[in-house]
Amino acid sequence: MLLISCPWCGPRDEAEFHYGGQAHVAHPEDPAALSDEEWARYLFFRDNPKGLFAERWSHTAGCRRWFNIVRDTATNEIHAVYRVGEPRPVIT
């Protein structure tokens, strides 16, 4: 069970949150201009690193707001929590 620090509500159990997968995946500006390969990549392919991963969470049982986390998928350690629209923090 992860302990996730919602930027608005503070630390809460993972059970209060909904997972949103990889963060910082922008919708293509002009989908019609993409090749099938490029569209497939946007639609179906997400990073799957064993290590640091920037991902989206929503505090569905609390304030219902979305935010981002950088978490290590090999250890589950949470390195950073930041708001939507902010750049991904550099983890050293």
């Binding site: 997972y19 997968g21 639609l43 998928t73």
Partner: protein, 408 residues
């Protein structure tokens, strides 16, 4: 239903010799789980390719092969899935004889419960689709469900009443460890090298062609490299710059203490989300859905287990006083359409078998057979051709979220 065996078979001291890696092989298989071992066996048996190494970073069959809930069935919706899973089930039916090894394969049937009118419609549709594909399937009323499995609660007064179920009588369970050992022994007897504690740390690619692997026990040249790394597929394919449409998640399971035989079949429920069978020794074996967040940790969150137990009690009130003895997790690689990826990659002589997500065990002999053909001939076997990597570009998805029976 098979009677329970009087005794479990004795194990010989050595089923295979753990080999020192040679400097080169015709085929290197990355991943010594069920799929890798079955592929090695059929490469040798069906194609006469015996200069093969199976590389395993831990010990043979210590990953998801040691962690699954052992359910075997072929009642999938789409023709493509029915094709490969039914091929697997037919192989299961003769596998103990073929491998000369007891697998405790028990065709006790599987019930997939329906809890809502929509479930009922989808289930009846699936029964019809199964029959058209030569897969045995029946639609059962709640009373008939009770006849097959007397301990299921069919009262209409529960939150998720059982409105019926699909039943595949030929489905069942097998002893997962014995399956791995049986394949390993048979493949080793045919000359395959089993190389344990040998982690792949890189893939050598020259002019768009794979030429070998780098490992913690030195480099190994290979004419062909076949990936069978389940939850770590993204990592190993990434060494060659191949992107796969996978997300790795923990999938948990658990067992109770040993109990008298009360559960004669396998019961799965999508809506309340638990699947249950009773192992030969007597422990109840249960699984649920994946943990939502990506992770390579072989453990999951407790609230998943809690919900799973709530679901189990709803369906089986008799379990109220049973105890959870042990819980564990494996790392499964899930695809967007809940179907596997088996076939060629953009890198020549590099093959991929992954994306089985929550349902790889039941496919073990079938995928081993087809993947071996793909690797040996360089062309997809007709049964795994629909599961090629390019389906995500062409849009020919095989959407099995319904029949996968495990929440993704």
């Amino acid at each position: 239903m098979n009677p329970l065996p009087d005794h479990l078979p004795d194990h010989p001291d050595r089923l295979w010799r753990s080999a020192e890696p040679k400097r080169s092989y015709d085929v290197v298989i990355v991943g010594g789980g069920g799929h890798g071992l079955a592929t090695a066996y059929y490469l040798a048996r069906n194609h006469g390719i015996t200069d093969v190494a199976v590389l395993e970073r831990g010990w043979l069959a210590g990953g998801n092969m040691a962690r699954n809930t052992t359910i075997i069935r072929s009642n999938y919706l789409w023709d493509e899935s029915a094709g490969i899973y039914e091929h697997a089930l037919k192989l299961w039916e003769g596998l103990e004889e073929d491998l000369g090894y007891p697998l405790l394969f028990s065709q006790r049937g599987v019930l997939n419960l329906a809890h809502s009118p929509q479930d009922v419609r989808e289930s009846v549709r699936r029964v019809n689709a199964n029959r058209l594909n030569g897969v045995d399937a029946e639609w059962l009323t709640p009373e008939q469900v009770k006849e097959v499995c007397p301990i299921v609660e069919i009262s209409p007064d529960v939150r998720y009443p059982v409105l019926g179920a699909t039943f595949q009588p030929r489905a069942g369970i097998a002893k997962h460890d014995y399956v791995a050992w049986g394949f390993a022994r048979a493949a080793a007897d045919l000359g395959v090298d089993m190389i344990e504690h040998c982690e792949v740390t890189g893939l050598d690619v020259r002019d768009g062609r794979v030429t070998g692997v780098r490992t913690t026990r030195g480099p190994i040249a290979a004419k062909k490299v076949a990936l069978a790394a389940a939850g770590h597929s993204s990592v190993v394919a990434g060494f060659a710059g191949v992107a796969l449409p996978l997300q790795s998640h923990p999938l948990q399971a658990l067992v109770s203490e040993l109990l008298e035989p009360v559960h004669p079949t396998v019961v799965m429920s999508n809506a309340v989300h638990v699947y249950v069978s009773q192992a030969h020794k007597g422990e109840l074996v249960m699984g649920a859905g994946i943990d939502a967040a990506n992770s390579y940790r072989q453990r999951g969150a407790f609230h998943i287990i809690e919900r799973q137990m709530a679901a189990a009690l709803e369906l089986f009130p008799i379990f109220a006083r049973a105890h959870v003895l042990r819980t564990w997790g494996g790392v499964v690689d899930v695809t967007p359409d809940a179907s596997p990826v088996v076939g060629l990659t953009p890198v020549e002589d590099l093959y991929v078998n992954c994306g089985w997500g929550t349902g790889g065990f039941k496919a073990t002999p079938g995928v081993g057979w087809c993947y071996a053909h793909t690797v040996a001939t360089g062309e997809p076997h007709p049964l795994n051709a629909p599961f090629s990597l390019d389906r995500f570009t062409t849009g020919r998805l095989v959407d099995e979220h319904g029949a996968a029976a495990v929440a993704h």
